[in-house]
């Protein structure tokens, strides 16, 4: 039985990739893209046309159209209302990261999904990277010995639009780029972040939002990590950014540069040099895992709690920068 999926908003550009992945699963007979709704109807109609599916005038109409599950990709502050609406309608939810822009919102989303017995999955596609999976296998097999420290980066560029309107995004680079690597570290270590220190600035864009974040995380098992979440890639940088992890263990060191599978394109007409990625499509792994959980009822591999734990590190980073000192986790509810 194909899982029937609705797309709730294309405000976040990742929605396009997820919709594409649903279409791939459709061709395998595992999923069906039922339709699209968006509070920006123009954007919604265009996306519906692009993916050869129906446009619904309202989110309610989409939820009434017999979908089993939804993929929620609006502006960050709208994750909560759309997730709650879907949960109340009894639909499983795959929600874009960061799960929420406050702890209260994240908690409410988790509760709503629990109350209506639907699953809530956070979109952390990096967990499906073959390089990360291999790294995790090696760590779990003890090949690096005991893990002692991690150096991570998730750098990119200012995406503009609503991402730099804190009322819609909940912040800037730090809320946008803290959660992926934090989630990988939590997953790799099986341990929670207990302290966050952050230096934050707006030096790249000089706007009313942060574009530079240098975080130091301490985990319950005493491992420490730093995470560069800056939008520091220049406009002419040959690719969008990176996700890297350097893992230091008692028996060795591993370095993962997740998107380093590229060829270089030298383009005279565009006067640009770009990296052409040929590595595996990690979004496919993400959407496929969600669809499988919906189809079989087995628990989603990345929960709402995982999404909130990672987002909480970003909240703590802002708090740390404000106070000028490290901040203990968990933050007060």
């Amino acid at each position: 039985m194909a899982v029937r999926i609705g797309m709730m908003s294309f405000a976040h550009m990742h929605a396009y990739s997820y919709a594409h992945c649903v279409k791939m699963l459709e061709s395998e007979g595992r999923a069906q893209l039922v339709g699209v709704a968006d509070h920006d109807p123009e954007r919604g109609k265009q996306a519906a046309q692009q993916y050869d599916t129906r446009f619904f005038e309202s989110y309610e109409d989409l939820l009434d159209a017999g979908v089993d599950a939804v993929i929620v990709c609006p502006e960050n502050v709208r994750h909560r209302p759309l997730t709650e609406m879907a949960a109340q309608a009894g639909k499983h939810v795959l929600c874009e990261k960061p799960l929420a822009t406050s702890k209260a919102d994240g908690r409410a989303m988790i509760e709503a999904c629990k109350a209506h017995s639907v699953q809530l999955m956070t979109a952390f596609p990096c967990r499906f990277s073959p390089s990360y999976i291999r790294l995790k296998q090696m760590v779990q097999a003890g090949e690096l010995g005991e893990v002692l420290a991690i150096r991570g980066t998730n750098r990119g560029r200012n995406p503009g639009g609503w991402f730099i309107v804190p009322e819609l995004s909940g912040g800037g680079a730090v809320i946008d780029h803290t959660v992926h690597v934090t989630d990988l570290c939590r997953d790799l270590l099986g341990s929670e972040v207990v302290e966050v220190y952050a230096e934050i600035s707006n030096g790249f864009c000089h706007g009313d939002f942060d574009d530079t974040g240098m975080l130091t995380l301490t985990f319950a098992n005493d491992v420490f990590a730093t995470l560069d979440s800056s939008w520091s890639r220049p406009k002419v940088f040959p690719t969008w950014g990176d996700v890297t992890l350097q893992v230091v263990g008692t028996k060795g060191l591993a370095y993962m540069d997740m998107f380093a599978q590229n060829s270089t394109l030298y383009d005279d007409r565009e006067m640009r040099i770009t990296l052409q990625h040929w590595g595996s499509n990690i979004d496919y792994g993400l959407v496929s895992a969600f669809v499988e959980s919906v189809a079989t009822g087995k628990p989603v591999p990345i929960t709402g709690e995982d999404g909130l734990a990672a987002a909480e590190v970003a909240f703590a980073a802002y708090e740390s920068a404000k106070r000028g000192e490290p901040v203990r986790l968990p933050l007060p509810e």
Partner: protein
């Protein structure tokens, strides 16, 4: 002709000595090392004298070059200053700030030159990056990352592994990066750091240090004595109008792999980065030329102390878990 005596015949002592032998205005007179056999061996390799005491060396030279473990610098520097000798001292200048102050005082009282060997300033990639930054090539610098390290260092009596002597990778190694950061971007305001230094591990150390500079820029410094994969250095300077990136793994114009590396097995590829003038030679040339001209060298003893101050602040942050603010004066 300036007569030079080198103290310490370890890795650095021999590197420095080789540079003096190539200079027209300096003459390597000899070595002193408390390991007398090693001193004699090295002296005969260079065709110079092995002094049997530090005092004997001081009597026959104009310049003393100190290449001994860090905590020995104080006594050797003060004695050289009192004897009226100009001094090149390996980094870190001292193990503590008080030691640095005493050395600076002794040198200024005696009116001799004391230059800390912050050799990174003579590495072309670091010098060029600074020139580019000062020329505005990246606009205003915002986020700076440096990384330095490789396998755990081995030396006489394993002294690097004794934190009381070496100060671990934060004081011993990334003091280079702290000096370069100050030289290029200005003073640091505060530091927060985490490290393995005090976890009682066997020959593994690693530190991640975040600095906030007075300019507002944020710098992240990695100090790595936990990478069996070989020594690597990289940096990245991201500004509001561009970025400069360097990675030693990609700066290897020559790589050689031999079919048979001896013992029958195939050899690994060995990358090289040959330069017409190595940075240690340029450093020593600058020092000798400055002394010869009676000019102060471009690196002051205060610079050496400031770099030590940042390193010690980072170590304090590791020990206390707190943010450490750096002292007043510019």
């Amino acid at each position: 002709m300036l007569r030079v005596g080198v103290v310490g015949v370890g890795t650095m002592g021999r590197t420095h000595a080789a540079a003096y032998t190539r200079l027209p205005n300096a003459q390597l007179v000899g070595f002193y090392d408390m390991a007398t056999e090693a001193a004699q061996r090295t002296a005969s390799q260079f065709g110079v004298k092995a002094f049997d005491s530090y005092g004997a060396l001081l009597q026959e030279v104009d310049i003393v070059d100190i290449c001994t473990p860090t905590p020995t610098h104080l006594e050797l520097v003060v004695k050289a200053a009192e004897a009226g000798k100009h001094i090149l001292c390996e980094k870190p200048l001292g193990r503590t700030l008080q030691q640095c102050e005493q050395m600076i005082e002794a040198a200024s009282k005696a009116g001799v030159t004391l230059m800390p060997a912050q050799v990174l300033r003579f590495f072309p990639e670091f010098k060029q990056a600074r020139d580019l930054v000062l020329a505005g090539a990246v606009g205003t610098p915002v986020a700076i990352r440096t990384r330095r390290g490789g396998p755990y260092p081995r030396a006489a009596n394993d002294w690097y592994a004794d934190f009381e002597q070496s100060g671990g990778p934060i004081l011993d190694m990334v003091i280079h990066d702290f000096d370069w950061l100050r030289w290029t971007f200005g003073e640091a305001e505060r530091v927060f750091a985490k490290a393995l230094t005090f976890k009682g591990l066997d020959h593994i150390d690693y530190a991640l240090i975040t600095l906030r500079l007075r300019s507002g820029a944020i710098a992240h410094v990695e100090a790595n004595w936990a990478d069996p994969g070989g020594f690597k250095v990289d940096f990245e300077i991201a500004g509001d109008a561009g970025m400069i990136a360097f990675d030693s793994r990609h700066a290897t114009p020559l790589t050689v792999a031999k079919q048979d590396a001896g013992g029958g097995g195939g050899g690994v590829a060995v990358p090289e980065s040959p330069l017409a003038e190595d940075p240690y030679f340029l450093e020593i040339q600058h020092f000798v030329d400055s002394v010869a001209a009676g000019q102060p060298p471009s690196i002051t003893a205060e610079d050496g102390m400031k770099a030590v101050e940042i390193a010690l602040a980072a170590i304090e942050s590791v020990q206390t878990g707190k943010v450490v603010r750096l002292g007043g004066g510019a």
